[in-house]
Symmetry: C3
Subunit: 311 residues, 3 copies
Amino acid sequence: MNKIRFNHLLGLEGLSSEVITEILDSAEAFLKVLSRPIPRVPSLRGVTVANLFFESSTRTRISFELAEKRLSADVVNFTASSSSMNKGETILDTARNIEAMKVDVVVIRHFAQGSPHFLADRVNAAVINAGDGSHEHPTQALLDIMTIRRKTGDLKGLKVLILGDIAHSRVARSNIYGLLTMGVNVKICGPSTLIPREIESMGIEVTHDLEEGLDWCDVVNVLRIQLERQNEGLIPSLREYQRSFGLTRNHLERVGGEKIIMHPGPMNRGVEIDSDVADGPGSVILSQVTHGVAVRMAVLYLISGREQSIE
Amino acid sequence: MNKIRFNHLLGLEGLSSEVITEILDSAEAFLKVLSRPIPRVPSLRGVTVANLFFESSTRTRISFELAEKRLSADVVNFTASSSSMNKGETILDTARNIEAMKVDVVVIRHFAQGSPHFLADRVNAAVINAGDGSHEHPTQALLDIMTIRRKTGDLKGLKVLILGDIAHSRVARSNIYGLLTMGVNVKICGPSTLIPREIESMGIEVTHDLEEGLDWCDVVNVLRIQLERQNEGLIPSLREYQRSFGLTRNHLERVGGEKIIMHPGPMNRGVEIDSDVADGPGSVILSQVTHGVAVRMAVLYLISGREQSIE
Amino acid sequence: MNKIRFNHLLGLEGLSSEVITEILDSAEAFLKVLSRPIPRVPSLRGVTVANLFFESSTRTRISFELAEKRLSADVVNFTASSSSMNKGETILDTARNIEAMKVDVVVIRHFAQGSPHFLADRVNAAVINAGDGSHEHPTQALLDIMTIRRKTGDLKGLKVLILGDIAHSRVARSNIYGLLTMGVNVKICGPSTLIPREIESMGIEVTHDLEEGLDWCDVVNVLRIQLERQNEGLIPSLREYQRSFGLTRNHLERVGGEKIIMHPGPMNRGVEIDSDVADGPGSVILSQVTHGVAVRMAVLYLISGREQSIE
């Protein structure tokens, strides 16, 4: 196996299409492992992974934990609530201490943008970013891209619409970097208050008209709208938001054609997406979740530098 | 081994005596496994179990987790506090997501009655009810019945008194269903404010006189009294409750005879049960805990449909 | 292997130098295990360990958990927040219940002094004290002593200064017992409000002058200052404390010589210790963390009574 090595996975910005393709190809192999009667390989036996979650999370934490266990890694979990962070310790001291216990890989989610990069510069362990502030969430974007590639066969020239709160979304940012690198055309749709100014300088078109965006695209990736945006005055109300940017069956029928429907979860059903779309024919939302475990196995495997074959 | 198959364990209501007997017999085999130097069997290797606890719990969660590990299952834990439930996600989306990660069995405790049934209708994973509202707690009742059967040899015709807050107790409800199915005579004892009206239509006698109930029974299963009942005006005070329905050595001596004493825990010592009863000669309270792990191993094993022998 | 048996590790008070030496020697063997490609031994296969943490903790909990997993033990975790302790259950009932589930070793951290001793008298499981109130924290002291022994070769006649809040420190207390037993000279330094009266009766010298203490010692073990001490009126302010007792490069340069610098963590950088000292040449703070896993493996191994060799 001709593996490309990387030491950390901090974001998709700057990652080459070769590395992304290598990860997706490995994830395909692990997806086959997951469908075996005993979905476990010994690839990471003896490797210790620490999951440091400074923000609450269900699916990402469980997805990483399952990926680690299915690779036979040793796993320790650390969540902020039960931690000594409230004793005033710095994140660096926490990470150094965990490293001193012979931890090989640190998976970190943190509310502060750049935390994983800060750690990666200062510890020997491999660092995987599981979401830093509104900056990047690379494994989510990789699983999104894997899901699109599986559904369409080829990424080049595809049209992906990202719908919703782009400004605060690490999922959007990582998707944009990864999709552009893979030759995908990306368009953004949302209220102007939720679209960052620099987006057009990245060569990405913006629309504020949902049906125009839908008409253009092959795939629509619907982002979660945070209820806090209302209090911050960035949207008038959830009802207003829903009326202009909530994805409904009506919209899809009006533009016609088959669209692939994605959502990173957790969904606000009836707000950014209606249930009959989320559970409807074009939806690949649950496949995204399944692919998440495979993508995370691939990233952990490649980052560990282990030579064993996946078989 | 001639295994009876079932897809979910949602409650003891409607479960046949054959299925209950099969579970108890398997639990006996697993109890032997638990006394080995290495109390572990490979029966569930490759099976992934998710423990979803939306209510805080110590013993039930740890008991399930130990049962799963002793069967060599892969285990992921999810507790409400660290979850995205506070992000407004529905329980169904949470379960579907976890299932999409290739989880085979979901053990769920939830404050809302019927949650496990709701899930079982909508996901492919096997669902085990670890307590839903004040509805059912089937594995607790199974371990109670196992404990009685081990102590008495035969269940048919035995007399079991259930003492305390019947109205709010999922333990009482599951015990009543299971015991009646197994041919046990059940009597209920407690203040009228804590006994549901429909109980007599189930063919169960009620008494409000503790010593009358004690005099009648072979086994007394003492329920935990929730301190909240006081604020709700359902009992005048804990002291009043204790005076009328708290089980003391005095009561037992007055009625004479050997009674088997049970409590599902956690106990309010000095309220519903006195310490010299809880720790006294007839008490099987700690055996109940031990049998809990064996019963849960049996349920997990039978629900998984695995063909391997327990040996 | 000529193993010394002990049933519990409750504190270093009264522990003989033979037992301490046996633990340190075993820890050296496990430190070698930790540097292997697959840092895992089967020594505790089939042994179940419950970690009961009634106080929040990061490094101690993770250190024990890693030690247990690297010995191939089965591990269940229990933290106060997710427990039924808020249902009013006594610590003894919790422990008895866990024991009834066939748990062999209980690792307990509790805010109440003497809790581990109370349990050890009443359960059959082996009990390891992971910190009880301001009483003892024996595995921390053992890892401190291991770190000193590795650095200096011999303990006898060495001079160790313990700096800070001695009165409230279980780390200080366990270190004093262990170091005196091993023939080390101990001196205490801190404000008089934070030094217990009985200390001089233990044959330990006290100084309130940091540089005098530094000039005397080979090793300085800097304790964490709890921010609460300020509100309790035991120190005028953190700034005042820092000025008199915070360890800075300046101090070290003024007294000259090479000092070994220790801290149990988590550190308040800029208060009891400056960053250029914590990260400077004499610091062994991260080695302490590494040794912690090895020491805990040794304690778990010796307490389990298992006959297997470490190899």
